[in-house]
């Protein structure tokens, strides 16, 4: 029987466990709403490295080491390390993977990379190709801001719709054997949706249509109501983007108010002045691997639809006046 349901959804009908997770958070995140859920918090942005790029590489290497150690396995037990980040040529991901003698798959889809990794990873494990697959994504405020925006020390005023790139990384281990850990039950691969937003600081507005499309498609493909899930949680739409998603879903006939939330909107406290909230490839992986995973293990959430969202722009595409394509993948995670 085909694993495909509807237009874009694939049912994972064998067991694919999210066996374990590891996280490293930046100093600002360490003072945020999920401080007690992180495995490790950096005392400062550079973490003893000569550049923030090196810091991001070290974070990724350590998070993989930590996950291997927590799980009591060695790197040779891993079939593959899969991951991505925000930088050109996904340098932090590749450079951290060179520390391990493990096959490597680099992924890039901006802030939705974590969704892409979980979707592809779950299918690889479900297909019987791999049994131990490590997925991790990361971002660092210091490396992303300089690539996408302006120098860190430049005294410019942030736009009221802008978001703060999260410094952090989360890694998960996908396996076909487990116990009471959450399982990936289905995945919906999202389309690229672009409704013509050109303001690169307004990424929430650029990504909300893609998130809506993916969530609505998932619910239709699986013939479910939003209430089936304890929470539908997007990656980094920010507060305004989340409101837009709510509005757009309503237009499609889905009322998400009771179940909808967003990792980016949840990660910082109101006092931290992150404007619309967090963003970045590390945002959804950090929040899922810490808060949601640990709460799922406790049984406080039983069914989550994780929808990492990505804005696929570059500095050059913005300068050339191109609009911002958005993408989102939905991962149905259940106990």
């Amino acid at each position: 029987m085909s694993k495909k349901r509807g237009k874009q959804t694939y049912v994972i009908d064998t067991d694919v466990f999210i066996k374990n997770t590891a996280t490293i958070a930046g100093p600002l995140e360490g003072k945020g709403n999920f401080a007690e859920y992180y495995d490790e918090v950096l005392e400062n942005d550079s973490w003893g490295c000569k550049s923030y790029e090196k810091t991001e590489i070290k974070m990724r290497k350590n998070v993989i080491d930590n996950l291997i150690r927590k799980e009591g396995i060695t790197e040779y037990d891993l079939d593959c390390i899969m991951g991505g980040d925000l930088l050109n040529q996904i340098v932090p991901t590749a450079f951290s993977a060179r520390e391990f003698e493990v096959p490597y798959l680099g992924m890039y889809e901006a802030c939705s990379t974590f969704g892409e990794c979980l979707a592809v990873g779950a299918m690889l494990v479900d297909g019987g190709f791999m049994t131990n697959l490590l997925c991790s994504t990361s971002s660092h405020n210091g490396t992303a801001e300089r690539q996408y925006r302006l120098p860190l020390e430049l005294g410019s005023q942030p736009s009221p719709v802008c978001q703060w790139t999260v410094t952090g990384t989360g890694a998960v281990l996908l396996t076909n054997t487990g116990d009471k850990q959450p399982k990936i039950k289905s995945v919906t691969i999202g389309k690229i949706v672009d409704l013509g937003i050109i303001d690169p600081s307004n990424m929430g507005a650029a990504m909300a249509p893609a998130a809506t499309d993916t969530i609505v498609t998932h619910l239709r493909d699986m013939d479910r109501k939003p209430e089936y899930y304890d929470m539908i949680v997007t990656g980094d739409l920010g507060k305004y983007g989340r409101d837009l998603l709510h509005f757009l879903a309503k237009e499609e006939g889905y009322e998400l108010a009771n179940v909808l939330n967003d990792c980016g909107s949840m990660i910082y406290t109101d006092k931290q002045r992150a404007t619309q909230g967090g963003s970045g490839a590390g945002c959804s992986s950090l929040v899922f691997s810490s808060y949601f995973y640990k709460e799922m293990l406790k049984g406080n959430f039983r069914k989550i639809l994780l929808v990492p969202t990505g804005a696929l722009l570059s500095k050059i595409s913005s300068l050339q006046g191109e609009s911002i394509p958005g993408v989102a993948h939905a991962i149905d995670i259940e106990l």
């Binding site: 860190l152 430049l154 005294g155 005023q157």
Partner: protein
């Protein structure tokens, strides 16, 4: 899904806006304070170095303000001020110093030549180019008017 035009209309209607009065007031206060400090240095230099004429004092004040703009950028304080002050800390000469020093600090790791030197003017470059172009145009107008009269 709604079409592009409808969506853009909805976004421009509902998008969070800058609190203009608050930002203008802060810009006025901070910008004004920076200029007052500059005036303070002018009075100080006029008093302490009486042999300097007013043009020389102006240059000295500018250099002093550039020094402090650069220093506070290096100490990581100017960007924090800029978050609140906006144009109030961008427009004075200290803001110009900030726009040169901040990329210089940032590209330090990529080396002196291809890092610091080639990136120092990524922010200030357009301002310098347009400043030069406009002064040439104004100079040309003066020249033509001067010849005609």
């Amino acid at each position: 899904m709604m079409n592009k035009e409808e969506y853009k209309k909805h976004v421009s209607k509902t998008c969070p806006k800058t609190k203009e009065w608050r930002t203008m007031l802060l810009a006025f206060i901070v910008g004004g304070t920076i200029c007052m400090i500059g005036e303070g240095f002018r009075d100080l230099y006029t008093e302490v170095i009486p042999k300097f004429n007013s043009t020389q004092v102006t240059s000295l004040v500018t250099i002093t303000m550039i020094f402090f703009g650069s220093l506070f950028t290096g100490l990581g304080l100017y960007d924090k001020l800029g978050r609140y002050a906006g144009a109030g800390s961008v427009i004075p000469i200290t803001g110009f110093a900030n726009s040169v020093v901040s990329p210089a600090v940032e590209f330090n790791r990529e080396g002196l030549f291809y890092g610091v030197m080639s990136n120092m003017f990524v922010v200030a470059g357009p301002i310098i180019v347009s400043g030069v172009v406009w002064s040439v145009l104004v100079g040309l107008i003066y020249f033509i008017v001067g010849v005609a009269v």
